[in-house]
Amino acid sequence: GRFGDHGGRYVPESLVEACREVEEAFREAWADPGFRGELATLLAVHAGRPTPLTPAWRLSAELGVTLLLKREDLAHTGSHKINNVLGQALLAARMGRTRLIAETGAGQHGVATATAAALLGLEATVFMGERDVERQALNVFRMRMLGAEVVPVRAGTRTLKDATSEAMRHWVGVAGSAHYCVGSVIGPSPYPYMVREFQRVIGDEARRQCAAALPSAVPDHVVACVGGGSNAAGTFAGFADTPARLWGVEAEGGAGAALGRPGVLHGFRSLFLQDDDGQIREAHSIAAGLDYPGVGPEHAHLRDLGRARYVTVDDGEVTAAAVRLARAEGIVPALESAHAVAWVIRAAGSGELPAGSTVLLTLSGRGDKDVATLMEVL
């Protein structure tokens, strides 16, 4: 459960046994071809995998690079989140759990969890900051329509960070019957590792698709946005053993990897935005899914190793990139994903991505959910 200095299992003693059970069940399931096959079937027939690899023809021409988009926005429920929740829901059912617990910010992971729960006949309880409940009323309704219970969290900043804390508190009391379905490569061990494994389907598919699409087989650069970092971790996993340079793009106001300092929160040791006293700072990003003050421990480790680099873009670049991708390719990206696009645009302009480079970018989700936000700022 360690990624160098990061990771670990910094949880209340009451949760240690629950985490250990998840770890044991996951390791056993992951080694079981039956489980792997069942998950692969669900991903194919229900979630729409493999997702396509789309050459961004016009934007590539404009930028002078070959840009390929891994289209997680086309996965069921609108983002890569479904890959992970289907895996965890299947695991929970295998463990005899009857309910999923999840935290959610903008609601994407909550909707995905509610979806997987419905599909597998489990109950779902989703914790969501009260402020997000108000801002994301449509996603709240989607979750309820899917049969999930949505619990507004009134503590702290009433956003994702607090929803995560509350989900952990709730899990303490029900760990014997409920599985905590963490939404990113965060949380106590084995979550960062397990979620990465469930998301590596992105990278594995993209690796094969790049091999078919590129003369070089492997792209020169692999780019993904990073909040907790699950789509990036899943993407990077497919290219870890290649010479591709890995780039994680964070929100300027939520840049755990780029700007955080070592700390412990939500059960894991990693890099967190915090003040000199160690109080966690509230993250700020136009993309609700990047509005998290930390980063998954594997990313902290990849940064320590220099294997991946972490960069930031600001909200203005992000909205401009979203509009540019929409107009050039007919794809309205999630604002999270637009961070990766924004950095590619900047880096192609600055020469950090040299002309002629091949770039794989994981488009983690679709922008439908962000239209109201964009209407306010554009």
Partner: protein, 297 residues
Amino acid sequence: MGDPRGRVRGAARGLDRAAHAVRPGRQGRRDADGGAVNALETRLRARRDAGRKLLMPYVTGGITPDWTEYARAFAAAGADAIEIGVPFSDPTLDGVTIQEASHAALTRGATPRGVLAGLAGLADLDVPLVVSTYCNLVFRDGPWAFCAALREAGASGLIVPDLPVDEADEAADAAAGAGVDLALLASPATPAPRLAEISRRSRGFVYAVSLMGTTGTRSALGPAATALAGRITGLSDRPVLLGFGISTPGQAVEAARRADGVVVGAAIMRRVLAGARPDEIGAFLTAMREALDDPGA
């Protein structure tokens, strides 16, 4: 009786209620060599062995400008140790009351440094001070620096609820190095071999979590609570304090049947948040103290 430590529980009744009845030298907490003599555990063991049921009230450091007065009231009401919470922005094991208290203290400008400075102002009290906080504050400048600061401030114990025994090596070394007792937590879900390890490695006392849940008052103590205390006392001679959900004298008495004492936190902070002054909290604790000392009354 099945008590492995062979103490005479009835002896507790003979003790004076005020903490100074036992009167250990406060200079003990400042002993440079690690303070084995006058450390937290020594004190608690002594009282426990004398038949006294232990009472550790909790206050969130910085919750009011004069928050240390609450600690003084605890001492006056017969506390055997005092737990001072250093508020953290994200108290994931705390229920709504202590979350609210932490938030209020931080909003008032409470900092770890400030709370420890406040502790230093309690140097005249004759009750061990136990600091509780979350990993991130302990690790901010590293556990060695944090434990040294605790010691400097006069604290003799440390509780870190999100630091399970598997992750505790460095903090335990640092605490030991600073002469601070790092108390570990045990929960009803902890399996037997692990419980043994926790009991063995804990210092000061073993913090038995009464239930699968967060801090906060509950209407009743579950059977798991006293069962856990029994399991630990069957494994170790270290004092066992039962915490989480103990809010009435009756619950304290019930908890103390198998445990060596109780931690009372949310029940106090709920009153503090409602505006109760130190003397009112003192009265509340005095009632609890009396019940513990005379459970048949």
